[in-house]
Amino acid sequence: MAPPVIDALPATAPRPGPAALERPLLEVRDLVTAFDTEAGRVVAVDGVSFEVGRGRTVGLVGESGCGKTVTALSVMRLLPQPMGRVLGGEILLDGVDLVKLPLEAMRRVRGGRIGMIFQEPMTALNPVQRIGKQLAEAFLLHQKIEPEEATRLSIELLAKVGIPSPEVRFGEYPHQLSGGMRQRVVIAMALANHPSLVIADEPTTALDVTIQAQILALMQDLQREMGMSILLITHDLGIIAQTCDEVVVMYAGKVIESGPVFELFERPKHPYTQGLLRAIPRLDHPRKTRLLTIEGTVPAIDDLPSGCRFQNRCPYRIERCLELPPLEDVEPDPAVTATSAARAASAAPATATAGAGPTDAAPAAPHQVACWRWREIEPP
């Protein structure tokens, strides 16, 4: 294949050709992102690799400071400047390395092929500009259309994301909307140019639980209709379980486990993943019992141990953990795979393939884990 040129990334996404279909939409390989602070260089993301298949939803999960948001900002090239920078690795969108893309071309990608949704919608919205104007701008920046046409498309899109009386809302300011309605506007902006990838960073964390359900259902509906891939960053394992096809678990700047959502929840292999799944209170568990905990705290990013970064909290720690364990493939459990496939097809709208384009063509991601002792660790 000829080296991709910038023109391979037009503002709006055409249906990818057959050759492009063979590769995942987004491939992040050995990403290293660092911040230059007064105290020296801090590596926040250290050799992270994962893929997002076409039409798929991939969850990036981990605790605060694990590097999940920095990973997302690296993909979007929105790292805080001048401190943040990508030191190594590739971020391939349809084979084009976003890290090497000129700034101007990258601007066309953002809001074009990649849509973005953030936790706090007010950070994405201009408080002194009418909603309609901001939304129309999203169209006008990326498409050669008349302002009247942009207005028409904006109102149409507001209706599509479930905003009542969109013609009225079009002329209002962000503060006149509730948090849930604002997030719908941000989703509309993210989807304006039919992106092939939407990056959503804790999109419902600031919302009430009933509004969260509305927003998650909306994203699922829109994905089914428009076929985009979603990279969902969250700390909420419930949201991952309900909406994602695959999960990437991060800890202290590294991927420690990844794989299909059923595999990972039913056969977690990394002690940290197991600990997380056991630590959450569940509605169907007996009350007032002690929760299993992960003792201790995450090591400071500028004071990481050599070797496995989970070692100071790990009940399975051995001498060898002073060496960094590589990500290894875990053989899938045929039983889990079969039930998950059946359930995914019947119960889960996020993975439903009808009308979603080439979802079913994408092979399932392998289950991988970075732990020396994963073979000995039994699922909970």
Partner: protein, 365 residues
Amino acid sequence: MSAGPVDSDSGLQAPAARASADRRIVDPTTAPAAVGRTGPAPPLLEVDRLRTYFPVRGGVFLTAKAICKAVDDVSLNIAPGETLGLVGESGCGKSTLAKTVVRLLKPAGGSVRFEGTDLAPLSRRELKPFRREIQMIFQDPADSLNSRQSVGKILEEPFVVHRLGSAEERRLWVARLLDTVGLPARAADRFPFEFSGGQRQRIGIARAIALRPKLVLCDEPVSALDVSIQSQILNLLLDLQRDLRLSYLFISHDLAVVKHVSDRIAIMYLGRIVEIGEADEIYARPLHPYTRILLAAVPDPDPRKRRRLEVVEGDVPTPINPPSGCHLHPRCPYAEDRCRVEAPVLRDVSPSGAPPHRVACHFDL
């Protein structure tokens, strides 16, 4: 161990002996007033028809334009050693209710009886002895801890304010408190910003239990914490309750967290309690449409139980101009004409002999 028991031998004592023995751990100066009372324990806290209103001001002269009924005719009890979970979405009045109970806010009506004494009409000075008995834990302890004071100073302050102990004794009590909440003794010389969120919440908890209160109001105490830290803090709160026989009012928007720590649960919507009962009963047999809506909206952390998240149309309305009749009617799938005009009262629907299960809905769902 993140949270050792407060007193290694206290778990072996009979509850009655423990209640008085516990006093000596931190605060040896007073004996409980209720010694000698017989019969079933009365509720520790009895909130009756409590109302907390705020004027909504506007216009040039900031005149009151409307009244926001943040807490609107709320009644509930908490027994000694019990946890009442309080659930609801933002703006439902759950934090205002807690602040009214500790009298950070003055109620517009109703009563807040603590061990039989109504706190509602009391003056600041009259309230002082009760401030020792009722304490509060907040969501983000960073906001409630003085960043210029060392942790030792912060934890010593309650004793100083209430003139307890000599400097030497207070130093000892602070060291014990730190140990109780799972922090090293050297933490006393450090400052709040040097600690992680989970550790800061431990400091907040240590301050709350310093004077050995009977009731602790926990307002979203784990909402800002990561999952692995959240479980440590929940365990600590459960340990402290067992060892110190604390009562909790536990406020959270996270239904799984509330279920885990609570004996009984109250669900609030726009200033009113819509359902209250035993925790297991509420989760197994939710009777109010709003409770069902909330439970259906929780994403289950089990992909095998994947389902379409139930969506209820509409936003959470504000308490400034709430819908008429039953506040839920614009969002309720069961609403009929009656719901638009008549506010349902809380009524007990439990079979006779069973613990009360109260629901404010016109229908038997």
